[in-house]
């Protein structure tokens, strides 16, 4: 079996990110690589490309990383972070269009079962019907 897909949680709030990560851990323990971050470069509410890069690194898996974000800036900064990754990693990191808490828990459960990155993303995105 290939490596379980990792989950990276990117919130504007460090507490939301940590709480979401706690809920993921409760479901899947340490079976899924997990990274989380929240807060701007000064630690206030916001997001930081540097912290997102670190969270993706924490969640890194050869199977890829699914990124869950909350509001707009988290998505824009996550897209920027993905573009700054080494070329060989860029194609293996995707942002899921899903609510951050439910999406992270659903994605992690799917990843734990050995699903591919595309499957993990699709499962999370079922929570946000088009």
């Amino acid at each position: 079996m290939s490596a379980a897909v990792g989950i990276a949680i990117v919130s504007h709030s460090a507490e939301v990110a940590r709480g979401t990560a706690d809920m993921v851990r409760q479901m899947v323990g340490d079976a899924v690589p997990l990274g989380h971050c929240g807060g701007d470069p000064d630690g206030g509410l916001g997001t930081s490309v540097e912290r997102i890069l670190a969270a993706i690194d924490d969640a890194w898996s050869e199977g890829g990383v699914a990124v869950l974000v909350d509001l707009g800036g988290a998505e824009t900064n996550s897209e920027m972070a993905i573009e700054l990754l080494p070329a060989e990693r860029q194609g293996k990191v995707v942002i899921c269009n899903a609510p951050i808490v439910e999406g992270a828990v659903m994605a992690a459960t799917e990843a734990w079962g050995g699903a591919s990155l595309d499957q993990v993303r699709a499962t999370a995105e079922e929570l946000s019907p088009p």
Partner: protein, 210 residues
């Protein structure tokens, strides 16, 4: 040789003046930008931009010593890393794309083409276009002006001021302001205002230099 040296010093001095003027202008307007953002967003635009441009000021000597393409790329990356919030990647992408698209020897046609490339990159990064009450409503008209060969700094900054003002009656359909729907009408977009401030600062330095 002597002439080359003088030209080069001129370039460094002009680059330094431009970078410093832009950073100081943004930092001086921190409260205004935050107030505008508080009206229709999350209120952090001023502080976010201040954090980014303080980093630019801290690295002023290093940035001014680089040729334009390198200076813009490095400055853009600093904004990406320091600003936080969506404006970091948006302004960072704009300056980095300008840097990538500019030849080392500047001429008006190359600058216009680079500005168009930067505007296209910002549209892609923000998944946005004209009329959505964003900074694009200021930078798209700027790119259009340059494309038509407008080089008068006064005309360019006047247009930027008009463009920023024109965002007041617009309905926001992108970003945090779009959550407010109709309530976003009647306020100037903070990103449009910060873009105007940057354009104004550049134009005023150029007017003094010419």
């Amino acid at each position: 040789m002597a002439e080359d040296t003088i030209t080069m010093q001129d370039n460094v001095a002009l680059r330094r003046a431009l970078i410093e003027a832009v950073a100081v202008r943004v930092i001086d307007h921190v409260d205004e930008l935050s107030d505008l953002d508080r009206a229709i967003g999350d209120g952090d635009h001023g502080l976010n931009m201040k954090r980014g441009f303080e980093e630019i000021l801290a690295r002023l000597d290093e940035l001014a010593d680089k040729p334009w393409p390198e200076a813009l790329k490095a400055g853009g990356m600093a904004l990406v890393m320091k600003v936080g919030g969506a404006s970091g990647p948006l302004y960072g992408t704009a300056f980095m794309t300008l840097g990538k698209a500019l030849p080392e020897k500047l001429d008006p046609a190359a600058f216009s083409a680079a500005m168009s490339a930067a505007v296209a990159a910002v549209k892609a990064r923000g998944k946005s276009d004209a009329g959505q009450k964003t900074l694009l409503d200021v930078v798209i008209p700027l790119a259009d002006q340059l494309e038509k060969g407008e080089l008068d700094p006064k005309a360019i900054r006047d247009r930027a001021a008009e463009s920023a003002l024109a965002t007041v009656p617009m309905l926001a359909t992108r970003g945090r302001a779009s959550f407010l729907g109709e309530r976003s009408v009647g306020h100037m977009d903070p990103g449009a205002r910060s873009s105007q401030l940057i354009i104004e600062a550049v134009c005023e330095v150029l007017e003094g230099w010419m």
